[in-house]
Subunit: 335 residues, 2 copies
């Protein structure tokens, strides 16, 4: 598929949905889109109303196509809900809401999957149709489903996240299928590119969005074996998550809600981390873990914020790269 058309990726980002997509949109502006590969979490995927829903793939696609709803970050702008309204009148399940336009994406994805195409191939086709130059690829073409061990029992991701609004107390996260899942060919190929300059872990939820990707052993080993620096952006700012249940889950799992814990969580994988300017008091602790660290404005509200943070991440990677090439000292406080 991509092999011949795009022999060279220079930047790879691992991303979940809304939070990660913001940085991805910025990256899309500061690096060459055709040399940027986004490896998307598909641990949230599920079958619902007869269709294969890939929430993170869609959020990334809609964000890069300029279609994303600016209010929610997910779904498409100017969405309509007549399908859901009619479904409700029929007494059907409506806890997971698919807008009329979003449904079309899911129906077409399902049709293509049923025709025998892999999720990678389907995603490539949808991206082409939406004129997205950046390569969005699923982490795997196989089945890996994130599940939550909670006080209400073991829950499927969307059951926990949407139906129960992330309310049940979490005691563990399970990546069902991780033992046998293989990275998608496009993801592995991107990570094998000799010209790779940086791999970014976007500020998506580490447990629910990035870890499922890292739970795939060949992706994890490929990332660990990289020469290119791996940079994370902390989703924790001032002791809180910018969005979603990250902080709540960290609390429930008994870890401090702090960028220090994010760095600790990622330390086997990353060379550097970008923390928020509100958390500069954490820098020494992180540096002591042999993780390079800089602070920046990480809360992305405007397009300018996204572009600036993406630029800082690329620059940080470049600094680490040159330093590693120089004297191998990657564990200091940078910037």
């Amino acid at each position: 598929m991509k092999q011949n058309k795009n022999p060279t990726f220079r930047h790879v980002a691992l991303s979940g949905g809304v939070g990660g997509a913001k940085l991805v949109v910025g990256l899309n502006e500061v690096v060459a889109p055709e040399q940027l590969c986004i490896i998307a979490n598909t641990g949230d995927d599920f079958e619902h109303l007869g269709v294969h829903v890939s929430p993170d793939l869609d959020t990334l696609m809609y964000s890069l196509a300029g279609l994303a709803d600016p209010e929610t970050g997910w779904g498409v702008t100017n969405e309509t809900w007549d399908f859901m309204a009619a479904l409700e009148e029929l007494g059907a399940d409506t806890w997971f809401r698919l807008g009329d336009r979003d449904l079309a994406t899911n129906v077409e994805r399902t049709r293509l999957l049923d025709s025998g195409m892999s999720l990678s191939q389907v995603t490539e086709k949808l991206c082409e149709q939406l004129a997205i130059a950046t390569h969005i690829v699923p982490m795997t073409d196989g089945r890996l489903r994130t599940m939550l061990q909670t006080e209400d029992g073991l829950l499927e991701f969307q059951d926990y996240f949407v139906r129960r609004a992330a309310q049940p107390r979490v005691s563990g996260v399970v990546y069902d299928g991780a033992g046998s899942a293989e990275g998608s060919p496009a993801a592995l190929e991107a990570l094998a590119c000799p010209d790779l300059e940086a791999v970014l872990l976007t500020p998506s939820n580490p447990y629910l969005s990035i870890d499922p990707i890292l739970a795939i052993s060949d992706i994890r080993s490929a990332i660990k074996a990289l020469d290119a620096p791996v940079i994370a952006v902390s989703p924790i700012v001032g002791g809180r998550a910018i969005k979603g249940p990250t902080a709540k889950i960290m609390n429930e799992l008994g870890v401090d809600v702090s960028p220090v814990e994010v760095a600790r969580h990622y330390r086997d994988i990353v060379d550097g981390i970008i923390i928020d300017q509100a958390d500069t008091d954490c820098m020494e602790q992180i540096a002591a873990m042999d993780v390079a660290v800089i602070s920046a404005q990480t809360v992305m509200k405007s397009m300018t914020d996204k572009i600036e943070l993406a630029g800082i991440a690329i620059e940080f990677a470049s600094t680490i790269r040159s330093r590693t090439e120089g004297d191998g000292n990657v564990g200091s406080v940078a910037g």
Copy 2:
């Protein structure tokens, strides 16, 4: 299912979509809805965009629920098309158009079928949800698909009817699966009701909408064995079909486009036929076939038209019933 709840049907109608649904709407007003059973053609059913589409069941449901689009006769009123518009942007198949609200019916039907329910059970559930008192039942819970032998080859029904707009010349109609299809339990049960007063063949297309039902051998035998009179309403008026390709198909099959041919087509099954007031010159010819015949205003434009024709059909059946009970003379020109 129905057995205990509804031991007694007094009227049964066989129907396809738009044309038949008009008479069904009238019947629903002139007889007790809970004693009226509509056996719907499902030969047009097909799988499309991952859902099980049952066009005639839906047209009947929407018509009786007062939801049908008054312009087209099919689909729902105030329908929106955002799903199709988005699908088109994705470059997907859009030749068969499912509105946002109509899609909900099809998605819910498919979900219920996938959960193991029969089409009869699913239809009953949908009708309950739409508060329809009349019993709409599929002709079969099995698979019988109408196909057209045409100059373009053997075509699936919707391919012929919608995608090709009924343009290819037809040389034959095939009811694929008819050999093994069984009537749905609810349909057979309705036809076995001892208090049955009339069975009506609505003015749907005889070849494409009524014949698929009659191609199911246990339904056909049950109808032939009935004491209750079987009455057809001719869909041909003044040498033309009121709607759809009936006249075109009759021409292509080499038969006269005339109520006489409709009567000849149904003569094994029916005791009487209602032809249009424009076709009174055909009455003697039809009576000579031992088929009772009356003329009426059969073009149903208003609700009043539908109610009047339904009343005439019920009255005609009553006349034939009393005459049969009297002297067995059913072959004369009545009314």
